[in-house]
Symmetry: C2
Subunit: 452 residues, 2 copies
């Protein structure tokens, strides 16, 4: 008897807790989520409206709107009026809801972007993407190592206390090099989308390179993490484990693409026979979610799976369905709702106060310059003639959420201390905020060059 409705019991417990001082009737636990969604979506639309009127990409407005929201209201403890909102976005129990929605948002965005690309299209620029990606790994890794070597002369205190004698500061440099490898395709994809330029060859090369980059970056991160963990334990890194990890990653992507091209038309044909309402959208979403889940399980980023799902699905696969609407139109309202949550939340995570610490700012400046210059090398990887190499280099700059995740792993491994972590966060912020306006400029410049 005691196990009856454990679940609903939990809900009521949380609601009672949060609304202890609430109203006389029953308080709905969704209320704080609604409040957070109202504020986030309103800020997103208002600030993107302002930026669009200024001729800037909407995504920059959403990011900066989030920065303002995060620093003015959510983190300013003196503004008691906003306490319920602060609780909704920052308290663990509720924050996980908004955070999950943001993560679903970036998956839907990458799925949408993937839908606008095709496997054939990606293959055409595949060689360029591969070169761009490899250059975009080597240069930032080397520069990141260099900056770390310049600024960081000793092991973080916390780490020094636990590691055996053989652990040297070079491991820290190794890790910071790895952190600089990441590319956040979300920001760049969104800018190209906002400007209606997703079909350009430059965009296709960047998207392909960002995906390859993510795979390579994750492999490097996994290898470096493995080496550091082994060193922390005083053991040598096993070569077998490294090879296994590389193998899984390659197998996942290769397998998904090869199997997908063969299987997807057959699966979609079967699904199109279903009569229940909404089956077309749910089929597409399930496919995207499943590949995202599998990508994550294979040790890759979930967004790689969502992008691969979009690549594999084409409009033609949906022709058998009863709904007389394109899958892009069905996905759009979901993207309208979910995607801004991701970008506003990225902005909310920025803490302007860290900009005041000079020693942190030094490392941050070094890392930011390394991150930007490191990716400019990418332009050389473009094989096709007549394409704008500057645009490709700029498009690869943002580190976004991938950089934050990498840095977080470093922090949990104790290889990165609080100060270095702040510096990495600043680097992520600057590269992320810088890209949309600069990308807009380089695209305009490229168009002018072509015309003249």
């Amino acid at each position: 008897m005691k196990r009856v409705c454990v679940y609903s019991g939990f809900l009521l417990a949380t609601s009672t807790e949060v609304f202890a001082a609430g109203s006389g009737g029953h308080a709905d636990p969704v209320a704080p989520i609604l409040l957070a969604l109202i504020v986030i979506l309103a800020v997103a639309k208002l600030s993107s409206e302002i930026f669009e009127r200024l001729g800037q990409p909407a995504v920059l407005g959403e990011l900066l709107g989030g920065v303002l929201l995060g620093n003015l209201i959510l983190l300013n403890p003196e503004w008691n009026f906003f306490e319920p909102l602060r609780a909704a976005v920052l308290q663990e129990n509720w924050a996980v809801v908004i955070d999950s929605m943001a993560r679903i948002g970036v998956l839907i965005l990458l799925f949408e972007v993937g839908l606008e690309s095709t496997v054939q299209g990606m293959m055409k620029v595949g060689a360029s993407s591969l070169f761009v990606a490899v250059l975009g790994i080597i240069a930032p890794f080397a520069l990141g190592y260099g900056v770390s070597w310049l600024f960081i002369k000793e092991l973080p205190a916390e780490l020094a206390a636990i590691v055996p004698a053989g652990f040297i500061v070079n491991y820290v440099h190794l890790f910071i090099g790895a952190v600089l490898c990441a590319t956040s395709v979300g920001i760049t994809a969104r800018v190209f989308k906002d400007l209606g330029k997703l079909q350009t060859k430059e965009a296709q090369i960047i998207l392909g390179a960002a995906v390859i980059d993510d795979v390579l970056g994750l492999i490097i991160l996994a290898v470096v993490s493995g080496i550091i963990t082994a060193a922390e334990l005083g053991q040598p890194m096993e070569v077998g484990a490294v090879l296994r990890l590389i193998g899984i990653s390659v197998l996942f992507l290769g397998g998904a693409l090869v199997l997908g091209v063969y299987l997807v038309p057959k699966i979609m044909k079967q699904l199109s026979k279903l009569r229940t309402a909404g089956v077309m959208l749910i089929s597409a979403l399930l496919f995207a979610f499943a590949l995202s889940y599998l990508a994550n399980a294979a040790g890759l980023a979930a967004i790689v799976g969502a992008f691969a799902a979009g690549l594999l699905l084409e409009e033609v696969h949906f022709h058998g369905f009863r709904e007389e609407i394109t899958i892009e139109k069905l996905l759009k309202p979901l993207a309208t709702f979910f995607v801004p949550i991701f970008f506003v939340l990225m902005g909310i995570q920025v803490r302007l106060e860290t900009f005041g610490d000079l020693s942190v700012l030094g490392v941050a400046a070094g890392l930011t310059v390394a991150a930007i210059i490191g990716k400019q090398v990418c332009g050389w990887g473009v094989l096709e003639k007549g394409l704008d190499r500057l645009t490709v280099g700029v498009g690869m700059i943002p580190r976004g959420e991938v950089g934050l995740i990498f840095a977080g792993i470093g922090k949990s491994l104790k290889v990165i201390d609080d100060a270095t972590f702040s510096a990495v966060v600043i680097m992520v912020i600057v590269t992320t905020l810088l890209t949309p306006p600069v990308l807009k400029l380089t695209l305009a410049r490229a168009e002018n060059l072509r015309k003249s």
Copy 2:
């Protein structure tokens, strides 16, 4: 420095915790949510497909699919294979995400239903709705009190230990009477929607009555809870507090409708001037979320606010927007994604094992009969001639999530013990599962009667 990225720190902490045994790369904390969504949406579509082919409403499939999922997989601790899924839907940290999405789902459903009704249309059947609602409160309250008096002869042990001498078992009967008053408009609205019968007068009367019912039920619940809390503390209930609560509820709904009719066209005209993409959908959602939030803050159910928002917004308000699409079409993909989560989760909360306890089953049977018969009186409240009173009575039967929430409050007040709670849960399940097929039958019968 320590406060830098508290938020992202939290995320990484949870992800590390959950994926302690995870992969080599970075594990995305959205993975368990994805898994839960994949399973829930797949079960929803498969089971609704089966039920549609059997000629039954899709919503019944989603509910029973949820029951199967909840009892076979999620709660069967011997099936280790499903451990990650169980964690995703039932563990506190993640369950709150899926639960919030379900609650957003029922809000979107009620908003959609409200959009298909107009204030004018509701006014036309307003008198009938009011009579139906009042009858649908009095009869179940009296019958619920009677069933409780028949079966429950002493105070719950936990309660008896804490209350002063004046607290008698009649308070328990009072509370159970209040629990039986609730009507869950979600289920009925969904059945009418599935069958394309939302525009019938019967449907309009039921929807109006369910909203009034919710308001009245919540007032009764608040009053009864107040009396019981006061009695538990050995104090008399303050009449002023009761009147204030009633005042707030009436003011909210009246105020929303009167102000809304005047203000909504002006607000929407201003919003339609915005250029940013997706502003039409976001405007509508913000309006629905805001009214839901305010309804909850006023002590009403959030769904009442969502329904009121839909009532106030009409297609004509969106004609100024740039998007050349109706708001219903924009909302549909969101409903397709969110609404099934609500119904599957309602099913998951059903614990078949409680059906095995005979004493619980006795109370449950009594309450269920009281719940069903009590609402049949509603048919007498229909003033218009030629309408099907049986359909109206049946449409008012489901207690759904409102009944569960009421029972949960009783449990936290200790006025309902575990056994009675189980009985209430069973009553909610039976009334909820029974309504779709019976409603379908009475609608078919009414159509046959009209034809002959």
